[in-house]
């Protein structure tokens, strides 16, 4: 079955690209590529002094895939546990991360929104009024050093980026207003029953 026609060079370049993609998917970050096409090898090694646009694209993609890169995990929507300070042991979600710090904080830190007071266990027997009372969440917003966080494998995709900003921490009333919006969003997330791990208290 003929799917397409191309030159040998293009096909070999494509094959190398697919092989690198496969290796990347498997987790290999440094690979040795062998080929019997001398022209292709020279092209890749000499930074693609090539004669065609498509061939160059294939080689460029192949080269970029072969570069070693690691996975960053301190990203927005990551669930973390605060380790130090008043909120030690509380679960929080990263809203914004500053990997290289700012002038005021020359270290890696992030803006987190967390739970100050977890919602209590709601049982079937409770009346609607009691359920509402038990599902209340009290929140906090804080800038925390990376060193004082324990990242977890969980994520919490609640959209907090628009309301939770660094200048919300400047004055008390802005902070209170931000916490109110976080509280609303987290409470409705709790009521749906998703992200159950996030809303259970960490026992220690």
């Amino acid at each position: 079955m003929v799917t397409s026609m191309a030159s040998i060079f293009q096909i070999e370049a494509r094959a190398i690209l697919e092989g690198l993609k496969l290796a990347w998917m498997r987790g290999f970050r440094q690979v040795e590529v062998e080929s019997d096409n001398a022209l292709l090898i020279n092209t890749i090694r000499n930074n693609f002094a090539t004669n065609s646009n498509t061939i160059e694209r294939f080689c460029a993609r192949a080269r970029i895939k072969a570069a070693v890169a690691m996975v960053k995990f301190l990203k927005p929507n990551k669930a973390v546990i605060v380790l130090q300070g008043r909120y030690a042991g509380r679960k929080a979600v990263i809203v914004k991360s500053f990997d290289d710090g700012t002038r005021d904080r020359p270290y890696g830190h992030c803006l987190v929104a967390g739970i100050k007071k977890y919602p209590s266990k709601v049982i079937l027997k409770d009346s609607a009024k009691k359920t509402a009372k038990k599902s209340r969440v009290k929140c906090f917003v804080k800038l925390v050093n990376y060193q004082h966080l324990m990242p977890t494998r969980y994520t919490l995709d609640v959209d907090l980026k628009d309301t939770v900003t660094v200048d919300a921490l400047q004055t008390k009333d802005k902070k209170v207003a931000t916490c109110k919006t976080i509280k609303q969003r987290l409470e409705e997330r709790f009521k749906t029953g998703k992200n159950r791990w996030f809303f259970t208290k960490l026992r220690f």
């Binding site: 440094q30 040795e32 070693v68 890169a69 690691m70 996975v71 960053k72 995990f73 990242p151």
Partner: protein
């Protein structure tokens, strides 16, 4: 992750490779910097000695799991790992940032 029983031959090869990394590559020694390298995704391989406290070992392994970095459990305690790095102090965990001339 650790294989079953390390033979003497592979152990020596790890030592050789470590020596090569110390000479030609970039690395950091110590728990704090290992976590730092994992957070910034700079680490490529983490090596932990066998007498590293289990909580610390699990913590490093968890971080490494999050950023998909390999962990190697060195067959020796922190004294041996320090010697393997050519240092005169103990090294409980180290992170290889740039392997230099080694291939792994």
């Amino acid at each position: 992750m650790a294989a079953g029983k390390k033979t003497k031959k592979t152990h020596e090869s790890i030592n050789n490779r470590l020596a090569l990394v110390m000479k030609s590559g970039k690395y950091t020694l110590g728990y704090k910097t290992v976590l730092k390298s994992l957070r910034s995704s700079k680490g490529k391989l983490i090596i932990i000695s066998n007498n590293c406290p289990p909580l610390r070992k699990s913590e490093i392994e968890y971080y490494a799991m999050l950023c998909k970095v390999g962990v190697h459990h060195y067959n020796g305690n922190n004294n041996d790992l320090g010697t393997a790095c050519g240092k005169y102090f103990r090294v409980s965990c180290l992170s290889i940032v740039d392997p230099g001339k080694t291939e792994f």
